[in-house]
Protein backbone atom coordinates (compact mmCIF):
# COMPACT_ATOMS: atom_id res chain seq x y z
CA UNK A 1 0.00 0.00 0.00
CA UNK A 2 1.48 3.34 -1.01
CA UNK A 3 1.60 6.29 1.30
CA UNK A 4 -0.17 9.58 0.46
CA UNK A 5 2.83 11.76 -0.40
CA UNK A 6 0.89 14.99 -1.17
CA UNK A 7 1.09 16.48 2.36
CA UNK A 8 4.83 15.82 2.40
CA UNK A 9 5.63 17.77 -0.77
CA UNK A 10 2.92 20.42 -0.19
CA UNK A 11 1.02 19.70 -3.45
CA UNK A 12 -2.75 19.61 -3.30
CA UNK A 13 -4.29 16.69 -5.22
CA UNK A 14 -6.26 17.45 -8.39
CA UNK A 15 -10.05 17.59 -8.13
CA UNK A 16 -11.24 14.42 -9.85
CA UNK A 17 -14.88 15.15 -9.27
CA UNK A 18 -17.18 13.54 -11.86
CA UNK A 19 -18.73 16.93 -12.69
CA UNK A 20 -15.51 18.03 -14.39
CA UNK A 21 -15.21 14.81 -16.34
CA UNK A 22 -18.81 15.08 -17.50
CA UNK A 23 -18.23 18.66 -18.61
CA UNK A 24 -15.14 17.57 -20.54
CA UNK A 25 -17.13 14.79 -22.14
CA UNK A 26 -19.83 17.26 -23.22
CA UNK A 27 -17.25 19.59 -24.71
CA UNK A 28 -15.59 16.80 -26.68
CA UNK A 29 -18.86 15.35 -27.92
CA UNK A 30 -20.09 18.75 -28.99
CA UNK A 31 -16.86 19.41 -30.92
CA UNK A 32 -17.18 16.02 -32.57
CA UNK A 33 -20.75 16.71 -33.59
CA UNK A 34 -19.68 20.00 -35.12
CA UNK A 35 -16.74 18.40 -36.90
CA UNK A 36 -18.73 15.60 -38.50
CA UNK A 37 -21.09 16.59 -41.31
CA UNK A 38 -24.64 16.12 -40.08
CA UNK A 39 -25.55 13.89 -43.01
CA UNK A 40 -22.72 11.51 -42.12
CA UNK A 41 -24.44 10.68 -38.88
CA UNK A 42 -27.98 10.26 -40.10
CA UNK A 43 -27.29 8.05 -43.12
CA UNK A 44 -25.79 9.86 -46.09
CA UNK A 45 -28.49 11.16 -48.41
CA UNK A 46 -28.43 10.37 -52.11
CA UNK A 47 -26.51 13.15 -53.91
CA UNK A 48 -28.50 15.96 -55.41
CA UNK A 49 -29.38 14.93 -58.95
CA UNK A 50 -27.73 17.96 -60.51
CA UNK A 51 -24.40 16.80 -59.01
CA UNK A 52 -24.96 13.28 -60.26
CA UNK A 53 -25.89 14.55 -63.67
CA UNK A 54 -22.68 16.55 -63.80
CA UNK A 55 -20.72 13.40 -63.00
CA UNK A 56 -22.24 11.76 -66.10
CA UNK A 57 -21.10 14.76 -68.13
CA UNK A 58 -17.64 14.55 -66.57
CA UNK A 59 -17.29 11.02 -67.86
CA UNK A 60 -19.10 11.11 -71.19
CA UNK A 61 -18.94 14.78 -72.26
CA UNK A 62 -21.93 16.84 -73.32
CA UNK A 63 -24.50 14.07 -73.43
CA UNK A 64 -27.22 16.64 -74.09
CA UNK A 65 -25.57 17.63 -77.36
CA UNK A 66 -27.44 16.25 -80.40
CA UNK A 67 -24.00 15.40 -81.80
CA UNK A 68 -23.19 12.98 -78.98
CA UNK A 69 -23.29 9.32 -80.01
CA UNK A 70 -25.27 8.52 -76.85
CA UNK A 71 -28.08 10.70 -78.19
CA UNK A 72 -28.49 8.48 -81.21
CA UNK A 73 -31.07 5.73 -80.73
CA UNK A 74 -29.60 2.29 -80.23
CA UNK A 75 -29.92 0.56 -83.57
CA UNK A 76 -30.25 -3.12 -83.85
CA UNK A 77 -29.80 -4.39 -87.37
CA UNK A 78 -28.55 -7.75 -86.22
CA UNK A 79 -25.21 -7.24 -87.90
CA UNK A 80 -21.75 -6.39 -86.72
CA UNK A 81 -19.55 -4.01 -88.66
CA UNK A 82 -16.34 -5.53 -89.93
CA UNK A 83 -12.89 -4.04 -89.47
CA UNK A 84 -12.67 -2.75 -93.10
CA UNK A 85 -16.16 -1.22 -92.80
CA UNK A 86 -15.22 0.68 -89.67
CA UNK A 87 -11.99 1.82 -91.31
CA UNK A 88 -13.77 3.04 -94.42
CA UNK A 89 -16.46 4.70 -92.30
CA UNK A 90 -13.90 6.79 -90.46
CA UNK A 91 -12.21 7.62 -93.72
CA UNK A 92 -15.51 8.74 -95.23
CA UNK A 93 -16.59 10.98 -92.37
CA UNK A 94 -13.17 12.57 -91.96
CA UNK A 95 -12.40 13.00 -95.63
CA UNK A 96 -12.43 16.40 -97.40
CA UNK A 97 -13.89 14.73 -100.49
CA UNK A 98 -16.97 13.65 -98.53
CA UNK A 99 -17.57 16.49 -96.07
CA UNK A 100 -15.53 19.43 -97.37
CA UNK A 101 -12.04 20.46 -96.33
CA UNK A 102 -12.98 22.78 -93.49
CA UNK A 103 -15.20 20.31 -91.63
CA UNK A 104 -12.86 17.38 -92.36
CA UNK A 105 -9.91 19.32 -90.91
CA UNK A 106 -11.89 20.07 -87.76
CA UNK A 107 -12.94 16.44 -87.37
CA UNK A 108 -9.41 15.19 -87.98
CA UNK A 109 -8.18 17.59 -85.29
CA UNK A 110 -10.73 16.05 -82.88
CA UNK A 111 -9.71 12.54 -83.94
CA UNK A 112 -6.03 13.38 -83.42
CA UNK A 113 -6.58 14.92 -79.97
CA UNK A 114 -8.80 12.04 -78.89
CA UNK A 115 -6.35 9.36 -79.95
CA UNK A 116 -3.52 11.25 -78.23
CA UNK A 117 -5.54 11.50 -74.99
CA UNK A 118 -6.59 7.86 -75.16
CA UNK A 119 -2.98 6.78 -75.75
CA UNK A 120 -1.60 9.08 -73.04
CA UNK A 121 0.33 11.19 -75.50
CA UNK A 122 0.47 14.93 -75.27
CA UNK A 123 -1.44 16.32 -78.28
CA UNK A 124 0.38 19.02 -80.18
CA UNK A 125 -1.72 21.75 -81.74
CA UNK A 126 -2.14 21.13 -85.45
CA UNK A 127 -3.44 23.50 -88.12
CA UNK A 128 -4.33 21.56 -91.19
CA UNK A 129 -4.28 22.46 -94.86
CA UNK A 130 -4.27 20.25 -97.96
CA UNK A 131 -5.70 17.33 -96.01
CA UNK A 132 -6.07 13.90 -97.48
CA UNK A 133 -7.51 10.88 -95.68
CA UNK A 134 -6.98 7.44 -97.12
CA UNK A 135 -8.25 4.05 -96.04
CA UNK A 136 -6.31 0.91 -96.90
CA UNK A 137 -3.35 2.81 -98.36
CA UNK A 138 -1.47 0.11 -100.19
CA UNK A 139 2.26 -0.36 -100.11
CA UNK A 140 4.79 -3.05 -100.98
CA UNK A 141 6.98 -4.45 -98.26
CA UNK A 142 9.48 -7.15 -99.16
CA UNK A 143 7.54 -7.87 -102.34
CA UNK A 144 4.27 -8.34 -100.45
CA UNK A 145 1.29 -6.08 -100.68
CA UNK A 146 0.26 -4.45 -97.41
CA UNK A 147 -2.29 -1.82 -96.51
CA UNK A 148 -2.16 0.97 -93.96
CA UNK A 149 -5.62 1.18 -92.42
CA UNK A 150 -5.93 4.95 -92.09
CA UNK A 151 -3.45 7.47 -93.38
CA UNK A 152 -3.96 11.17 -92.75
CA UNK A 153 -1.68 13.57 -94.59
CA UNK A 154 -1.69 17.35 -94.43
CA UNK A 155 0.44 20.44 -94.70
CA UNK A 156 0.92 22.21 -91.43
CA UNK A 157 0.02 25.89 -91.88
CA UNK A 158 3.13 27.66 -90.76
CA UNK A 159 5.82 29.90 -92.22
CA UNK A 160 7.56 26.91 -93.76
CA UNK A 161 4.92 24.37 -94.65
CA UNK A 162 5.57 20.94 -93.26
CA UNK A 163 4.26 17.66 -94.58
CA UNK A 164 2.77 15.73 -91.69
CA UNK A 165 1.16 12.31 -91.46
CA UNK A 166 -0.76 10.27 -88.97
CA UNK A 167 -1.08 6.54 -89.34
CA UNK A 168 -3.78 4.59 -87.51
CA UNK A 169 -4.01 0.82 -87.50
CA UNK A 170 -7.56 -0.15 -86.52
CA UNK A 171 -7.89 -3.54 -84.89
CA UNK A 172 -10.87 -5.50 -83.67
CA UNK A 173 -9.19 -8.60 -82.42
CA UNK A 174 -6.70 -9.22 -85.22
CA UNK A 175 -3.21 -9.44 -83.90
CA UNK A 176 -0.41 -7.29 -85.23
CA UNK A 177 1.88 -9.08 -87.66
CA UNK A 178 5.58 -9.16 -87.01
CA UNK A 179 7.47 -6.38 -88.71
CA UNK A 180 4.28 -4.52 -89.60
CA UNK A 181 4.82 -1.52 -87.38
CA UNK A 182 8.48 -0.68 -88.16
CA UNK A 183 7.99 -1.13 -91.89
CA UNK A 184 4.88 1.10 -91.97
CA UNK A 185 6.64 3.73 -89.97
CA UNK A 186 9.71 3.67 -92.18
CA UNK A 187 7.60 3.87 -95.32
CA UNK A 188 5.43 6.77 -94.11
CA UNK A 189 8.35 8.71 -92.63
CA UNK A 190 10.27 8.45 -95.91
CA UNK A 191 7.36 9.13 -98.22
CA UNK A 192 5.18 11.63 -96.50
CA UNK A 193 6.81 13.38 -93.55
CA UNK A 194 8.91 16.34 -94.60
CA UNK A 195 10.19 19.32 -92.62
CA UNK A 196 11.96 19.87 -89.35
CA UNK A 197 8.83 20.15 -87.19
CA UNK A 198 6.77 17.58 -89.07
CA UNK A 199 8.02 14.61 -87.07
CA UNK A 200 6.79 16.29 -83.93
CA UNK A 201 3.28 16.76 -85.34
CA UNK A 202 3.05 13.35 -86.97
CA UNK A 203 2.07 10.19 -85.14
CA UNK A 204 1.70 6.43 -85.34
CA UNK A 205 -1.20 4.81 -83.52
CA UNK A 206 -2.78 1.44 -83.00
CA UNK A 207 -6.46 1.62 -82.10
CA UNK A 208 -7.50 -1.73 -80.73
CA UNK A 209 -9.22 -3.70 -78.02
CA UNK A 210 -7.06 -4.21 -74.95
CA UNK A 211 -4.05 -5.96 -76.39
CA UNK A 212 -2.77 -9.34 -75.55
CA UNK A 213 0.61 -9.64 -73.98
CA UNK A 214 2.36 -10.60 -77.21
CA UNK A 215 0.95 -7.52 -78.96
CA UNK A 216 2.07 -5.42 -76.04
CA UNK A 217 5.55 -6.82 -76.50
CA UNK A 218 5.47 -5.79 -80.17
CA UNK A 219 4.35 -2.32 -79.18
CA UNK A 220 7.02 -2.10 -76.51
CA UNK A 221 9.66 -2.72 -79.17
CA UNK A 222 8.12 0.03 -81.31
CA UNK A 223 8.17 3.02 -79.05
CA UNK A 224 7.24 5.38 -81.88
CA UNK A 225 3.82 3.77 -81.93
CA UNK A 226 1.17 4.59 -79.36
CA UNK A 227 -1.70 2.32 -78.51
CA UNK A 228 -5.22 3.50 -77.67
CA UNK A 229 -8.14 1.29 -76.71
CA UNK A 230 -11.43 1.78 -78.51
CA UNK A 231 -13.74 2.68 -75.60
CA UNK A 232 -11.29 5.25 -74.20
CA UNK A 233 -10.79 6.70 -77.67
CA UNK A 234 -14.51 6.97 -78.39
CA UNK A 235 -15.19 8.55 -75.04
CA UNK A 236 -12.40 11.10 -75.58
CA UNK A 237 -13.68 11.77 -79.11
CA UNK A 238 -17.22 12.49 -77.85
CA UNK A 239 -15.98 14.79 -75.11
CA UNK A 240 -13.95 16.91 -77.53
CA UNK A 241 -16.34 16.69 -80.48
CA UNK A 242 -19.40 17.79 -78.51
CA UNK A 243 -17.47 20.62 -76.85
CA UNK A 244 -16.88 22.17 -80.28
CA UNK A 245 -19.45 23.96 -82.31
CA UNK A 246 -19.61 21.53 -85.21
CA UNK A 247 -22.64 21.03 -87.45
CA UNK A 248 -25.16 18.30 -86.63
CA UNK A 249 -24.54 15.21 -88.73
CA UNK A 250 -26.89 12.35 -88.01
CA UNK A 251 -25.07 9.94 -90.31
CA UNK A 252 -21.70 10.47 -88.61
CA UNK A 253 -23.35 10.23 -85.18
CA UNK A 254 -25.03 6.96 -86.16
CA UNK A 255 -21.75 5.60 -87.45
CA UNK A 256 -19.98 6.34 -84.16
CA UNK A 257 -22.90 4.86 -82.27
CA UNK A 258 -22.50 1.69 -84.34
CA UNK A 259 -18.81 1.53 -83.46
CA UNK A 260 -19.64 2.15 -79.80
CA UNK A 261 -22.10 -0.73 -79.89
CA UNK A 262 -19.28 -3.01 -80.85
CA UNK A 263 -17.98 -2.52 -77.31
CA UNK A 264 -18.86 -6.07 -76.41
CA UNK A 265 -16.21 -7.13 -78.89
CA UNK A 266 -13.60 -4.75 -77.50
Amino acid sequence: MSADWHPICGVSPPDWSPAWLLRLNDTLASSLRKAIRPDALGGAPIPVWQQSRKSLTDVFGHIDSPNHLLNVPDWNWGIRLTEPQVTKGWQHFLSPAAVGHDLAAKRVAVFYEAICIASKRQPTGISISDLSVEAEHSLQIGGRRKAIDLLFRWKEQSASEQNCAIVVELKFGHVLTTGQLPSYKKYVAQQFIKGDGARHKSGFFVLSPRTRRRDQNKLRRNTDWSVAYWPAFLRAFEKIYTARDLPYDNAFNMFRRAVWQMKDDF
Binding site: S52, S55, V59, I63, L70, P73, A118, P209
Partner: protein
Protein backbone atom coordinates in the same frame (compact mmCIF):
# COMPACT_ATOMS: atom_id res chain seq x y z
CA UNK B 1 -51.83 12.75 -49.53
CA UNK B 2 -48.99 14.98 -50.69
CA UNK B 3 -48.81 15.35 -54.47
CA UNK B 4 -46.43 12.86 -56.01
CA UNK B 5 -43.71 14.19 -58.29
CA UNK B 6 -41.48 12.23 -60.61
CA UNK B 7 -37.89 12.46 -59.31
CA UNK B 8 -35.86 14.73 -61.58
CA UNK B 9 -33.33 11.92 -62.16
CA UNK B 10 -36.06 9.62 -63.44
CA UNK B 11 -37.69 12.34 -65.51
CA UNK B 12 -34.35 13.18 -67.18
CA UNK B 13 -33.75 9.49 -67.83
CA UNK B 14 -37.12 9.21 -69.56
CA UNK B 15 -36.93 12.39 -71.59
CA UNK B 16 -33.24 12.71 -72.54
CA UNK B 17 -31.75 10.07 -74.80
CA UNK B 18 -28.16 10.93 -73.88
CA UNK B 19 -28.78 10.43 -70.18
CA UNK B 20 -30.70 7.23 -70.80
CA UNK B 21 -27.92 5.77 -72.95
CA UNK B 22 -25.23 6.75 -70.45
CA UNK B 23 -27.15 5.28 -67.51
CA UNK B 24 -28.01 2.11 -69.44
CA UNK B 25 -24.38 1.72 -70.44
CA UNK B 26 -23.19 2.08 -66.85
CA UNK B 27 -25.83 -0.26 -65.46
CA UNK B 28 -25.06 -2.87 -68.10
CA UNK B 29 -21.39 -2.95 -67.18
CA UNK B 30 -20.53 -5.87 -64.97
CA UNK B 31 -18.81 -4.86 -61.81
CA UNK B 32 -16.30 -7.66 -62.29
CA UNK B 33 -15.09 -6.16 -65.59
CA UNK B 34 -12.63 -3.33 -65.95
CA UNK B 35 -14.42 -0.46 -67.72
CA UNK B 36 -12.22 -0.02 -70.77
CA UNK B 37 -13.23 3.57 -71.33
CA UNK B 38 -11.30 4.79 -68.31
CA UNK B 39 -7.63 5.43 -68.60
CA UNK B 40 -6.30 6.77 -65.31
CA UNK B 41 -6.95 6.86 -61.57
CA UNK B 42 -8.51 10.32 -61.89
CA UNK B 43 -10.93 8.97 -64.44
CA UNK B 44 -11.62 6.02 -62.16
CA UNK B 45 -12.82 8.43 -59.50
CA UNK B 46 -15.12 10.18 -62.00
CA UNK B 47 -16.32 6.86 -63.35
CA UNK B 48 -17.45 5.76 -59.91
CA UNK B 49 -19.28 9.04 -59.40
CA UNK B 50 -21.05 8.44 -62.70
CA UNK B 51 -21.82 4.88 -61.61
CA UNK B 52 -23.46 6.29 -58.49
CA UNK B 53 -25.54 8.57 -60.72
CA UNK B 54 -26.72 5.55 -62.70
CA UNK B 55 -27.61 3.65 -59.53
CA UNK B 56 -29.39 6.76 -58.30
CA UNK B 57 -31.61 6.78 -61.38
CA UNK B 58 -32.39 3.10 -60.92
CA UNK B 59 -33.15 3.30 -57.22
CA UNK B 60 -35.15 6.51 -57.47
CA UNK B 61 -37.17 4.99 -60.28
CA UNK B 62 -37.89 1.87 -58.26
CA UNK B 63 -38.92 3.87 -55.20
CA UNK B 64 -41.00 6.19 -57.37
CA UNK B 65 -42.88 3.22 -58.83
CA UNK B 66 -43.65 1.92 -55.35
CA UNK B 67 -44.91 5.37 -54.32
CA UNK B 68 -46.84 5.69 -57.57
CA UNK B 69 -48.54 2.34 -57.00
CA UNK B 70 -49.58 3.48 -53.54
CA UNK B 71 -50.80 6.81 -54.89
CA UNK B 72 -52.88 5.23 -57.64
CA UNK B 73 -53.88 1.62 -56.94
CA UNK B 74 -53.52 1.98 -53.16
CA UNK B 75 -55.69 5.08 -53.12
CA UNK B 76 -58.22 3.53 -55.51
CA UNK B 77 -58.53 0.38 -53.35
CA UNK B 78 -59.08 2.53 -50.29
CA UNK B 79 -61.53 5.00 -51.83
CA UNK B 80 -63.52 2.23 -53.50
CA UNK B 81 -63.74 0.40 -50.18
CA UNK B 82 -62.34 -2.63 -51.95
CA UNK B 83 -62.20 -6.01 -50.27
CA UNK B 84 -59.17 -7.04 -52.32
CA UNK B 85 -56.06 -7.61 -50.25
CA UNK B 86 -52.41 -7.72 -51.20
CA UNK B 87 -50.87 -11.19 -51.23
CA UNK B 88 -48.01 -11.09 -48.72
CA UNK B 89 -44.44 -11.94 -49.85
CA UNK B 90 -44.54 -14.84 -47.38
CA UNK B 91 -47.18 -16.60 -49.45
CA UNK B 92 -45.48 -16.07 -52.79
CA UNK B 93 -43.40 -18.70 -54.48
CA UNK B 94 -39.88 -18.56 -55.82
CA UNK B 95 -41.14 -18.27 -59.38
CA UNK B 96 -43.62 -15.52 -58.56
CA UNK B 97 -41.28 -12.71 -59.63
CA UNK B 98 -40.59 -11.35 -56.21
CA UNK B 99 -39.34 -7.80 -56.56
CA UNK B 100 -35.55 -8.03 -56.68
CA UNK B 101 -33.79 -4.81 -57.80
CA UNK B 102 -32.96 -6.39 -61.15
CA UNK B 103 -36.51 -7.58 -61.62
CA UNK B 104 -37.81 -4.08 -61.08
CA UNK B 105 -35.37 -2.61 -63.53
CA UNK B 106 -35.41 -5.24 -66.24
CA UNK B 107 -39.15 -5.87 -66.29
CA UNK B 108 -39.79 -2.77 -68.36
CA UNK B 109 -39.89 -0.61 -65.24
CA UNK B 110 -43.26 -1.96 -64.29
CA UNK B 111 -44.44 -2.48 -60.79
CA UNK B 112 -47.32 -4.74 -59.94
CA UNK B 113 -48.71 -6.25 -56.80
CA UNK B 114 -50.77 -9.37 -56.51
CA UNK B 115 -54.12 -9.00 -54.86
CA UNK B 116 -56.81 -11.52 -54.03
CA UNK B 117 -60.40 -11.46 -52.94
CA UNK B 118 -61.48 -12.75 -49.56
CA UNK B 119 -64.02 -15.16 -51.03
CA UNK B 120 -62.91 -18.72 -51.75
CA UNK B 121 -61.83 -19.32 -55.32
CA UNK B 122 -61.34 -15.68 -56.20
CA UNK B 123 -58.34 -15.65 -58.55
CA UNK B 124 -55.19 -13.71 -57.88
CA UNK B 125 -55.06 -10.51 -59.90
CA UNK B 126 -52.03 -8.43 -60.71
CA UNK B 127 -52.55 -4.70 -60.52
CA UNK B 128 -49.69 -2.97 -62.27
CA UNK B 129 -48.34 0.42 -63.11
CA UNK B 130 -45.56 1.32 -65.47
CA UNK B 131 -43.69 4.53 -66.18
CA UNK B 132 -41.70 4.45 -69.37
CA UNK B 133 -40.83 7.01 -72.01
CA UNK B 134 -44.18 6.25 -73.67
CA UNK B 135 -46.06 7.42 -70.63
CA UNK B 136 -47.70 6.13 -67.47
CA UNK B 137 -49.80 3.07 -67.95
CA UNK B 138 -51.98 1.00 -65.66
CA UNK B 139 -52.52 -2.65 -66.35
CA UNK B 140 -54.40 -5.59 -64.95
CA UNK B 141 -53.55 -9.24 -65.37
CA UNK B 142 -55.79 -12.04 -64.33
CA UNK B 143 -55.05 -15.61 -65.13
CA UNK B 144 -56.55 -17.12 -67.19
CA UNK B 145 -58.33 -14.77 -69.52
CA UNK B 146 -61.16 -13.85 -67.20
CA UNK B 147 -60.99 -10.12 -67.34
CA UNK B 148 -64.30 -8.52 -68.02
CA UNK B 149 -64.49 -5.63 -70.42
CA UNK B 150 -63.14 -2.58 -68.71
CA UNK B 151 -64.46 0.89 -69.45
CA UNK B 152 -62.44 3.64 -71.15
CA UNK B 153 -59.58 4.58 -70.78
CA UNK B 154 -58.89 0.85 -70.65
CA UNK B 155 -58.18 -0.76 -73.98
CA UNK B 156 -60.73 -3.20 -75.27
CA UNK B 157 -58.21 -5.82 -76.40
CA UNK B 158 -55.71 -7.75 -74.37
CA UNK B 159 -52.11 -6.74 -75.04
CA UNK B 160 -49.39 -9.22 -76.00
CA UNK B 161 -48.78 -10.19 -72.39
CA UNK B 162 -52.44 -10.99 -71.84
CA UNK B 163 -52.98 -7.83 -69.83
CA UNK B 164 -55.59 -5.19 -70.19
CA UNK B 165 -54.02 -1.74 -70.03
CA UNK B 166 -54.87 1.92 -70.12
CA UNK B 167 -53.98 3.92 -73.18
CA UNK B 168 -50.60 5.43 -72.56
CA UNK B 169 -50.46 8.28 -75.02
CA UNK B 170 -52.76 10.37 -72.85
CA UNK B 171 -50.46 10.05 -69.87
CA UNK B 172 -47.06 11.31 -70.95
CA UNK B 173 -45.77 13.63 -68.24
CA UNK B 174 -44.32 16.80 -69.75
CA UNK B 175 -42.83 17.87 -66.45
CA UNK B 176 -41.88 16.13 -63.21
CA UNK B 177 -45.06 17.30 -61.53
CA UNK B 178 -47.90 14.86 -62.24
CA UNK B 179 -50.57 17.49 -61.53
CA UNK B 180 -54.04 16.27 -62.34
CA UNK B 181 -52.74 13.09 -63.98
CA UNK B 182 -52.72 11.26 -60.65
CA UNK B 183 -56.47 11.85 -60.22
CA UNK B 184 -57.12 10.59 -63.75
CA UNK B 185 -55.15 7.44 -63.04
CA UNK B 186 -56.97 6.86 -59.75
CA UNK B 187 -60.30 7.23 -61.56
CA UNK B 188 -59.20 4.66 -64.15
CA UNK B 189 -58.04 2.31 -61.40
CA UNK B 190 -61.35 2.63 -59.57
CA UNK B 191 -63.27 1.98 -62.77
CA UNK B 192 -61.28 -1.23 -63.24
CA UNK B 193 -61.76 -2.33 -59.63
CA UNK B 194 -65.52 -1.92 -59.88
CA UNK B 195 -65.57 -4.41 -62.77
CA UNK B 196 -63.00 -6.82 -61.33
CA UNK B 197 -64.76 -7.28 -58.02
CA UNK B 198 -68.13 -8.01 -59.52
Amino acid sequence: MAPLDIPQSVFDYMTKDGIRSAVDHLLASRSSDFPEEINSWDETRNYHRALLAAYQVRQEHIIFLIDLWDAVWGRALQEAGSTLEIVPFLEQHKDDSLPSPDFFWLEANAHFRRVRGRSFGFPVIELGIEYWSEGIQLYVYRDPDLIADLPSPWTSALDKDGCRSTETHKNIPSEPSLGGMADKLVAAAKAALSCLEM
